[in-house]
Symmetry: C2
Subunit: 204 residues, 2 copies
Amino acid sequence: MARLPVYLRALTTLSEQGTATCSSEHLAAAAGVNSAKLRKDLSYLGSYGTRGVGYDVDYLRYQIAREIGVTQDWPVVIVGIGNLGHALANYSGFRSRGFRVVALLDADPRRHEEVVAGVDVRPFDDLEQIVRDHSVAIGVIATPALAAQDVADRMVGCGITSILNFAPTVLSVPEGVDVRKVDLSIELQILAYHEQRKTHGATT
Amino acid sequence: MARLPVYLRALTTLSEQGTATCSSEHLAAAAGVNSAKLRKDLSYLGSYGTRGVGYDVDYLRYQIAREIGVTQDWPVVIVGIGNLGHALANYSGFRSRGFRVVALLDADPRRHEEVVAGVDVRPFDDLEQIVRDHSVAIGVIATPALAAQDVADRMVGCGITSILNFAPTVLSVPEGVDVRKVDLSIELQILAYHEQRKTHGATT
DNA sequence: CTCGGTTTGTTCTCGCGTTCACAAACTCCT
DNA sequence: AGGAGTTTGTGAACGCGAGAACAAACCGAG
């Protein structure tokens, strides 16, 4: 489920606040979902709660982390070190959740001298070797739209099976490869759409 | 609908390629959706196609742009000029779609000397004045999680009704205020989840 | 003018996710 | 020990979006 990471984050916050135990209602409020939905999601993983009491925060947190897979280390490569690539490489939320950026790749030779977030930028052609050496399964595409499909093809070609795509393009990949896409401008456009309906009045 | 921006982007690409007319099947392939779903979405806006022919690319593009609201100019403020804030301020996809970054705000005084993407960074306390002067309706939060709720409250307080939140927190806002959230690490965690199930084998 | 080919707009059905509601189970107090 | 109160886990109904299928409409050729 796509909500497990949200629960995990809420549990981490609760744990840091010193809460040892919490009810489904409490956790649901912290995660911003319905309590029934939360209980059903959790029951899908197994019975980790105690009736009349609630859930043990740390225990449940570990169980969800294990289910998601963030107890292990995930090596990640980032391709495209523009503004967004920089931001992603420096994003602390990755490392703290088990994702380790093992390489930054860019096709532009002028960037190969840079060192970003303690990792130096390497030529895109090193992809195959890096993926092999570190057993990378997850790739991040932060290139312009035109290069994205080529990068995806190369990634798939050397065994990457999960891609996070920030380029504004629809990637076509073979079956068995997961692609998640994040398009920043689309999010703003959705907001603008609702905003327009709010102020301008619905013409129905 | 949340798919309209995707259609708009696909239509723009088609238009740049010189395509004057396209069928729902063709456009659906470019947008990565089912053709029946596409037709249903478009019919929701009105009958802009011609049976037996298809859709006029530029005409449909304008109609969708108008429906979303990107034909007008949307002033936007960005709060929090860390790595992500920098990337957002420099992101060309915003300006090209009618979003104009009118101000960059940060609570840290050391950043107030910087100029990012041609806009200089100003103190967070200038928020009210900027929002009033430019009639800002959309705010972007790129601060750490702890500051996000306070920033959101201030934004709501001075009349902002749409918020794009990059901080890993659930924001609570009054009715009538739209919040969309983008959490980069959650996307990676979802990929890791599927990745784990792929390689490790489903224990069902 | 008529007919065949093509494509849109729409209706209908199906399946999934969400939500309500309730029984089972646990704790605490008396 | 027993009962009241609380909270989980789950069964059932509801609603909604997705996909397939079909009728209406348009173009072009003869």
